[in-house]
Point group: C2
Chain length 514, copies 2
């Protein structure tokens, strides 16, 4: 980390001391490390059959790359058959391209190195929800997101001990022109947090801008050799990758920055309506996307993404927290492990408009397979409402509490002598409670996860305090967190250079909402 | 089923035809059969160590049987060392007593044989919550339960395609004297449902009354040879079994009826505050309780129960949906499988007073390990609020919907040709959606679980319909279900005999609230 230390060194030791104090205040793990074996819902034979089906889709149907001549050229050079925009892949080609050079694990460096995240293996990284045009809180109801909302969610994520990653488009800042939003968004992640973040993908030049901003912060040489920007690239399912997304992927890969190639499948519409079909298609699309990234730059960090939802037969609306996408998630995690690349899926999904029982049940129904299945990067881990159309302040607080619980669960069963507590049994009579026992007194503080959002008091006490539901309690919590927020230190010169660069860029072309 | 057919035969074919029509209307499975391997959170070595620790607790500390001379005598006769009320067990004694004669699987016969449930193996049986003095609905708020509430929950459970078992004390009918409640409760299960049910355990004579009522319905000979009543017997943790509960267990076991011997542990108070200690203690207590049942009557059906909750360090209040009891649940399910008896645990637990996001998150956090861990009998699967103090009408509806989801999840991934849908891929161009594809049209109806409680409509539509949260929607649902309720047929003569028997019994001793 020579480069960053040197750059930080410019403002002397004060920022460093501040950073040390801050990290002592916010005690946290840079990512979650699972100790339990991932849950498998299919046998090896079943998984192998899905791989065969994905190979058949790649070979017999193929994938279309729209308006992307570079992709067609790269794949033709690698031995695929190109017919118009359709690419058909000899059996195993994509898999071998990915397995040959895609790193099984990689590190994304954060502005504060204590927050570096490692993708892959038994690690799970939580990031907030992504991409909603609306925000919602109990006071203002549902409204378009603004850059102030964006900054608020960056700050709330920074303050969370359980969210490891600052995310990307935590909400759309609709008050900023579409073609200049990425400057303010990336700046917010850099200025209001020191956790790792995601860059823009809506246009290739916006991806390049995101990397350029990172170069100002981390140093050019450092960025050449380290991954400091992460990005979300979606397929246009079924079986299509589009130019704008591929262009962004190319920009990041060329700069050795990380992309997650993610089929986004509303099963029944964008794939056949069965779990096995959705899985085979997702594998085929992701393999083609990741192979493209490896052809652009062998060894560029890439993540296998999967987003799958079911749909309502009555309305065609996406539905969340249902059993079938949970099965898809378990299967895709297994397939990614077999492939040997980091896997992204999951999230606190719901179709509910508010942070009610539907929202919590549906979110839990996705987060459980996310953790038990062994997902490495969890986008949408907090705040998601209304099928992703809205980012909820109260929902964010409640989801975040659940992420804390997962940190405790992931540690598994403590089988140490203290955990077994045989001495406690041998020194306690039947019928005598353990409340005052030395073993209890020694362990109580850390024994159980303490939820800040749950109310465990008596009915009478709860009623006396206003009979608040969970969302109402959460409302007070995000306000207090924002009120107490203190920005992490940043080198003044870097911040000034960044601001000036953004101003110059913004001034160099007219506003547009395309 | 000769006996029941004969008894039913008394009123001729009409009831039989009605029953046939009814079961055609309510399409349901008599119990859930899991296809996935249970999730294990501990290695075989870890589980063996907990068994060793339980053996040490049984041998070195022992279990107390309070005011239960018959238990002391039975255990002394079996080779245990009895000192006052304390029984110390030679290593492996309890385990060998249980494994020698306790059935690994057994059937509880229902009044409608289509509803018979089989305990053990890969089966999971859902029953409503049990034991709350209060009920809650959105209209009336929280209030003491009445016999009308009790009957309502029996009816709602009967109407559910996902609840397999009518349960027991679905709420306390506080308007009926304590010493006569069991007559009205057991009668309600028999009259307003034809699913299997649980009998009274508060006094040995009430357990015997419950069996006597079953004899009137099923016939004496039939009851001698079949299990028709199930019951919940709790330990008085730590390491104590009490006379009243043991007396009830004895009454059921002597009649060859089923008991679940359940340590009920608030960890930190009733056990040491660690997962491994809570598990070893639960195993020790359950082993002693089940061994007692087998000594009373070798081969009597018995279920290994576990109820574990964490507690709030601040208040001492029980807390639910936290990670540590989830780990306990997984471990206990594994230990029960190793022992070879059916296992009871789980439930839609919450400390929340209302059916809000807290309630749903906490409930999901217990129901996920319940299903994934492989629990055989799930008490409290619907309705539980406020740490069990309240039975919620809306919560019941929302929980019940989740049980439906579990039925879909438990089937696992369909790897049939139709499930793989390769023909669909080979007949669909990239970029063309699958909505109108013949494969989708053939599968859509059954493709995804359809939640009756979730709102998946657009924000505008949802707002136009009154911006209802999940609890508000659920309120309308339980009312409609009760309005549409039709009682299952019952032999008029049986019903009359039962009512007369209850009247005679009730008249034979004065009311009392003890």
């Amino acid at each position: 980390m020579t480069d960053m230390t040197e750059r930080r060194g410019r403002t002397g030791g004060r920022a460093g001391r501040q950073a040390a104090r801050l990290s002592a205040q916010i005690e946290r793990e840079p990512f979650l490390t699972r100790t339990l074996k991932p849950v498998e819902v299919l046998s090896d034979e079943g998984l192998a059959l899905l791989e065969t089906n994905a190979d058949r889709i790649l070979e017999e149907v193929g994938i279309e790359f729209h308006d992307a001549p570079d992709a067609l050229e790269l794949f033709a050079g690698a031995g695929a058959s190109v017919d118009g925009q359709r690419v058909r892949f000899p059996k195993g080609l994509c898999r071998s391209l990915v397995q040959a050079t895609a790193p099984p694990e990689f590190t994304q460096v954060a502005r504060n190195r204590a927050n570096d995240v490692v993708f892959g293996g038994r690690r799970t990284i939580f990031a907030p929800a992504y991409g909603s045009p609306f925000v919602r809180d109990l006071d203002g109801g549902r409204r378009y997101g603004t850059i102030e909302d964006f900054r608020n969610f960056v700050k709330l994520t920074y303050a969370s001990p359980w969210l490891h990653h600052s995310g990307g488009t935590v909400c759309e800042p609709v008050d900023v022109p579409v073609n200049k939003r990425h400057y303010d968004m990336v700046h917010a992640h850099i200025r209001y947090s020191d956790k790792p973040f995601m860059g823009s993908v809506t246009r290739p030049e916006r991806a390049r801008d995101s990397v350029d901003m990172a170069r100002i912060v981390f140093g050019e040489d450092f960025v050449d050799e380290h991954t400091v920007v992460f990005s979300l690239v979606n397929a246009n399912s079924p079986l299509v990758w589009d130019a704008s997304m591929l262009g962004a992927a190319r920009a990041y890969a060329e700069a050795n920055q990380a992309v997650m190639m993610t089929p986004f499948v509303l099963a029944g519409a964008m794939s056949p309506a069965t779990v096995a079909a959705c899985c085979a298609q997702t594998l085929a699309e992701a393999l083609a996307g990741m192979a493209y990234v490896q052809l652009v730059r062998a060894g560029a960090p890439v993540v296998f993404g999967s987003f799958a939802s079911s749909m309502s037969m009555q309305s065609g609306a996406p539905t969340f927290g249902t059993p079938e996408p949970a099965l898809v998630l378990y299967v895709m995690a297994s397939l990614a492990r077999r492939l040997g690349v980091p896997f992204r899926s999951g999230g606190a999904f719901t179709a509910s408009k508010v942070a009610d029982a539907q929202a919590a049940y549906e979110s839990a129904n996705t987060m459980q397979p996310t953790l038990l299945g062994g997902v490495n990067f969890v986008l949408h881990a907090a705040g998601w409402l209304e099928g992703g159309l809205s980012m909820g302040y109260e929902k964010f607080v409640l989801d975040n509490d659940q992420l804390g619980m997962w940190h405790a669960f992931a540690r598994g069963v403590d089988m140490s002598e203290n955990g077994q507590a045989m001495d406690a049994f041998l020194t306690n009579e039947p019928g005598t409670h353990f409340l005052g026992h030395p073993h209890t007194l020694a362990n109580f503080e850390q024994a159980f996860y303490r939820s800040p959002t749950s109310d465990n008091s008596s009915f009478e006490q709860w009623e006396g305090e206003g009979a608040q539901d969970a969302a109402t309690r959460a409302n007070a919590m995000w306000k207090r967190t924002l009120a107490e927020y203190e920005a992490p230190p940043i080198d003044d010169a870097v911040e000034q250079e960044l601001r000036e660069w953004i101003e110059r860029k913004k001034a160099s072309f007219p506003d547009s909402n395309v």
